[in-house]
Subunit: 345 residues, 2 copies
Amino acid sequence: MITRIAFIGFGVVGQGLAEILLEQKNDLKNQIGFEFEVVAVSDKMKGSVYNEVGLDLQKLLELVKSTGKIDEYPEGIKGWDSLKTITETNANLIIEVSWTDINTGEPAITHIKTAIGCHKHVVMTNKGPIALAARELISMAKTNGVEMRFEGTVLSGTPAINLGVNNLASSKITKVAGIVNGTTNYILTEMEKGLKYEEALKQAQKLGYAEADPTADVEGFDALGKIVILTNVVMGGNITKDQVPCQGITKITSQDIDEAKKESKRWKLIAGAELKDDGSVEAYVMPKKIPLDHPLAAVSGPINALTYTTKYLGDVTVIGPGAGRAATGYALLTDILDIHRKISR
Amino acid sequence: MITRIAFIGFGVVGQGLAEILLEQKNDLKNQIGFEFEVVAVSDKMKGSVYNEVGLDLQKLLELVKSTGKIDEYPEGIKGWDSLKTITETNANLIIEVSWTDINTGEPAITHIKTAIGCHKHVVMTNKGPIALAARELISMAKTNGVEMRFEGTVLSGTPAINLGVNNLASSKITKVAGIVNGTTNYILTEMEKGLKYEEALKQAQKLGYAEADPTADVEGFDALGKIVILTNVVMGGNITKDQVPCQGITKITSQDIDEAKKESKRWKLIAGAELKDDGSVEAYVMPKKIPLDHPLAAVSGPINALTYTTKYLGDVTVIGPGAGRAATGYALLTDILDIHRKISR
């Protein structure tokens, strides 16, 4: 069975996945038996194209890189918006990579519900929908007999959600705590090297790690979305982000950094969740001083990490990239292949 | 469908799994739909028992703990040896947890081949068979339409093999390197605290981390078996242990430790493998000085860790226990559940 793929959104992450798919097309077919065609791409700014027998990915990527547009792709139907692309193309798998709105989850939530409603599988890296509506979406997917995956919403392609949901499924996870935001971790690492907060932030912006408006990162809101996802999806909790105490790194001074050093510790912005005796799960985002001999203390720069505390294994930590074109594109590929394995058995 | 389980061997690891199975029986049924009965246990020293409708695990565990024997279990057939238990009981899943012989792989290889030959699934934590005969056994299992799993052969229950084979399957792994032996890592950690090699070894023996004859650990042979497994199973290589340069930690002096410290480095016994341009894979076991800011440097005491270097994600590191009753028991449970998911779909 050939998987027919439609991209909703075609920015950095979408293109990152498209590049990997192009590069691996033969290997995926020969080694895993996964065959696909990308039949449609619809992006609010770049335009859209649909060809039911498949688009030439190389041509499409070159076009987007040289013109920033999709409309000029030679063959196929043009001008279909995201909803029409989801409902009326012959795609059976929707890659939702439109933009992230952590407050409303839109337009992604509508895209996902529409896809599920017409019985198409969905993968995404967009935190918004899962942070805001994980239970509703998971239940809707189940009811409609389709698969939904979102490994890339936490730690990009580094196995984080799947690690908890699959590999550690019956290990009795009691806690999760980690460094889930690379921007703040980079800033803290640079502050340890002697920079002031403002200098480290500027450097992060220069390197593209921080946005012009860094609020979502430095105030902890990005980490907040991720810990809500881990709490509700991996830990069996049922919380909203308003219930989570959230503190960023803006109040950490160079003096705080020095004092931690003297205690053989290191400041990290930690997002965590803990299973309580009554079965509820409590989450938090806050800067913490981590002893230097703890695995999380060694995670520096834009790298992310997550420690699961379990009954049978004690602590299991995974460390890897938390962002990036290829890493986030790869997250989508793991989701696609996971769905392929599930439905092709 | 109920999975009927037979234990071949019932030492620390087997009992560790039995305890987890007993504790989680209801959860596994209700949450995952996994139903099982342990129908047989056969241990060379402790005796054996078979009851086709299932044994009472609690009774069995209490009996073994109080008497060290299985024969006195009240109901069931007694005295069947491992081969008869594999072939003639109604078990459809064999837990191979007899002893490890890293040079011959026996008797485990015979147990596994016998099980596969009569179309029974097999899980194990025994390095021997996989280090010596992975290709043959995997191919035999495939031909006979049964599943074989061995997550616990490397890093016990910490996801290591599955991480490479599943989560990172299409990430284009080019290298793997890690701390895969807890005994030597404990000794090196203690030497950093000021102990001499002999003192640290003695302490490891006292704590049960090292055997009376510590050769397999300190000369690197245990790590060697594990890197051969990772090379052949995860990296697509085809090597035997004789082809791998192997050096342990016995030549590391307190002076070496101090010198590394001065360079902001730390000695670790590293087992590694690297994909070469010609498609072959080269492996090694040797002590290496690791920079303090590398994730592996922060892995201390009996903890293990593995770093996969990949094209799309860069480095992904997992850190967790490498041994222990519950951790190794849990490795078997993940394998059992993985087989359940696969065959019940």
